[in-house]
């Protein structure tokens, strides 16, 4: 028990559990299964973007990808347009969304590297350009996803969405990348001390490039999946992932100072955030208050968790 409590990710799961219990206490158990299914379905998307964001944030202070919402929005439109309601084009559409996300990630890295501007500003300015591309490209886009695709993103096995299984496998993969691949170790090394990493022979720029590209690609995939799940693309489909992708990383026990990442915590934090929204909805809280509470909880969690001294 003690070793379990010392794991940084346990708190996010405990938080999720508390919120969940509060919700079913309020509904007296009615619709518990539905709540869980819905929570898992939505958490999946946050986990995927959150994992990308985690790799970026782990690179160290100042590294963050603020272009995810625009990236997701554009990829959702790209996927729908390429699939064009045709089941045969699903794979191509997914690849196209992946490519769109990858291109955004590469563009972000180039801005950071060539203009030597902090990633926050680079990704923020690129997000505005992406947003315009999306508005112009997706104008009047009313394409429904192919029926087979929409079904796939909504299939459940004993109440558990199939995407959740896939995403758990993805998380296991991400954890292996982080701890057992040279790339993952390099990310952790750069996040702790970029200069020491360079002097220890880590190819710093290649790793940073891969990381921003990876984060962009994951954003692209998420866009495609969201379009399937919500049965259509839209410009603002990714808006909530600006904050939530960062929030799940921080709540999940990854250090904002860099160099320390935590994959399981992202699941706990994503479930916590989704269930928190469910709870507030169940309680009948107004949209305004919901925003306020979400914001306050995030600030509170960062205050409690983020107290460690940044290295620089």
């Amino acid at each position: 028990m003690k070793t379990l409590l010392s794991k940084p990710w346990i708190w996010s799961f405990l938080g999720a559990l508390v919120v969940f219990l509060a919700t079913i206490a309020f509904t007296r158990g009615v619709g518990t299964g539905g709540i869980l299914t819905a929570a898992l379905s939505l958490a999946v998307f946050t986990v995927i973007v959150g994992t990308g964001q985690m790799f970026v944030i782990t690179l160290g202070p100042g590294n963050v990808d603020l272009s995810l919402p625009a990236n997701i929005g554009l990829a959702s439109a790209v996927a729908m347009k390429v699939m064009d309601g045709n089941d045969a084009m699903i794979a191509v559409g997914l690849l196209a969304a992946l490519g769109s996300g990858l291109a955004v990630g590469v563009a972000n890295y180039l801005l950071i590297r060539l203009l030597r501007i902090p990633p926050i500003i680079a990704t923020l300015s690129s997000s505005f350009i992406i947003l315009s591309i999306d508005i112009s490209y997706g104008r009047g886009l009313q394409i429904k996803p192919p029926p087979g695709y929409a079904d796939f993103t909504n299939i459940q096995i004993v109440g558990i969405p199939i995407l959740a299984f896939v995403t758990v496998a993805f998380s296991v993969g991400a954890a292996i990348v982080l701890s057992r691949l040279v790339y993952g170790r390099s990310v952790l090394a750069i996040g702790q001390n970029i200069r020491a990493a360079w002097l220890a022979g880590v190819p710093v720029e290649r790793v940073r490039f891969l990381t921003y590209a990876l984060c962009g690609a994951l954003g692209g995939i998420t866009g495609a999946l969201l379009a399937g799940y919500f049965r259509g693309a839209s410009v603002d489909i990714g808006n909530e992932y600006l904050l939530s992708s960062i929030a799940v990383v921080v709540i999940g026990g990854t250090s904002v100072a860099g160099g320390k990442a935590n994959v399981p915590g992202i699941w706990g934090a994503a479930l916590f955030l989704v269930l928190l929204l469910t709870m507030l909805n169940t309680f009948g809280v107004s949209p305004g208050l919901r925003l306020v509470l979400t914001g306050l909880i995030i600030v509170g969690v960062i205050t409690a968790a983020g107290g460690q001294k940044a290295l620089r």
Partner: protein, 323 residues
């Protein structure tokens, strides 16, 4: 620091790259004005500037707000929603029961001071904290004013609608604001300490100054100028909207950078920031409209302007490093 810094030794002639860099903000504003003039002669008139710059004052104030936190190496990603929140308070409570409105606005500045203290004491990343706060301000704005509406107080409308002789109001206001902040931050003795805290916090601490206090003062000033920006905005638009300030986060950061400020090191320029804000205000809509940029692409144009200016600066500072 273990890295031996490259330092050119010797007498310093006029550093053209540095001069260029200092003039870059004014230069980019000039380019925008010339571009507008060539596209539409009539825009260059008392009425034209009044119309084109009608939103420049709130943008300039928000930019200065952002500049204060950037001076101490922090960033405020919540300034846009905060301006929106102030706008909603102004259009409702400040109009209906001024005492309540004033209390709320002062309390909001207090929240900023407290955030500064929190960020310093717990050593938190300001990006994440202010990102969280952006949701709080947005939520509060929606609670106060669920649908667009409300009404600006009369005195505010009168103030913002004032028409001075010869020079349009926004230009007069921009000059006054820039000079006041320039004096406060660049010319007072405590201003030097505040900027020093951004340049070398450790040295300021060793000289016996409280770094906690500098953070609280700077965040407080950000709150104050955020409030002023919201007031000016509502005085211009006459009614409130919870989403009215959302674009100001990017605009304010862009304005500071365009104005020659740097993200770290306490190097900022209030006059430059105001010029940067005016540039953004004119480039954001009037220029793009005259150039017949379709509305879809106006957001992209803003991002592109930012990237181009940053690229220009990188080129110039490379020259500077080689000089």
């Amino acid at each position: 620091m273990s890295l031996g810094s490259a330092q050119a030794v010797g007498a310093r002639p006029i550093n053209w790259a540095r001069l260029m860099r200092a003039l870059l903000p004014a230069l980019s504003l000039g380019i925008v004005v010339v571009a507008i003039a060539s596209l539409n002669q009539r825009a260059i008139s008392y009425l034209g500037f009044t119309l084109m710059l009608n939103l420049a004052i709130p943008i300039a104030l928000a930019t200065l707000a952002q500049m204060f936190v950037i001076t101490i190496n922090e960033l405020d990603l919540s300034i846009g929603p905060f301006v929106g929140f102030v706008g909603c308070v102004t259009a409702t409570w400040l109009h209906d029961s001024p005492l309540l409105g004033i209390t709320v606005l002062i309390a909001a500045i207090g929240v900023y001071v407290a955030l500064g203290a929190l960020i310093h004491l717990r050593n938190l990343p300001s990006i994440v904290v202010t990102l969280g706060m952006s949701f709080v301000w947005q939520g509060l704005a929606i609670l106060i004013l669920p649908t667009p509406g409300g009404k600006a107080p009369e005195w505010l409308l009168a103030l913002m609608g004032f028409k001075p002789p010869f020079i349009p109001m926004p230009i007069v206001a921009a000059i006054v604001i820039a000079l006041v902040v320039h004096f406060g931050l660049m010319r007072t003795s405590y201003g030097a300490v505040l900027r020093g805290a951004g340049g070398n916090g450790q040295a300021i601490g060793r000289a016996g100054w409280s770094l906690l206090r500098t953070k609280m003062v700077m965040f407080g000033l950000t709150g104050l100028f955020g409030v002023l920006s919201g007031l000016a905005l509502i005085g211009t638009t006459t009614s409130g909207d919870a989403n009215i300030g959302n674009g100001y986060t990017l605009l304010s950061i862009a304005g500071v950078i365009l104005g020659g400020g740097e993200f770290v090191g306490g190097r900022v320029s209030p006059v430059g920031a105001v010029i940067g804000a005016l540039t953004m205000a004119m480039a954001a809509s009037p220029l793009l409209t005259f150039m017949h940029v379709p509305p879809d692409w106006q957001v992209a144009a803003n991002g592109a302007i930012l990237i181009i200016v940053l690229a220009a600066r990188v080129l110039i500072s490379r020259k500077e490093a080689n000089a």
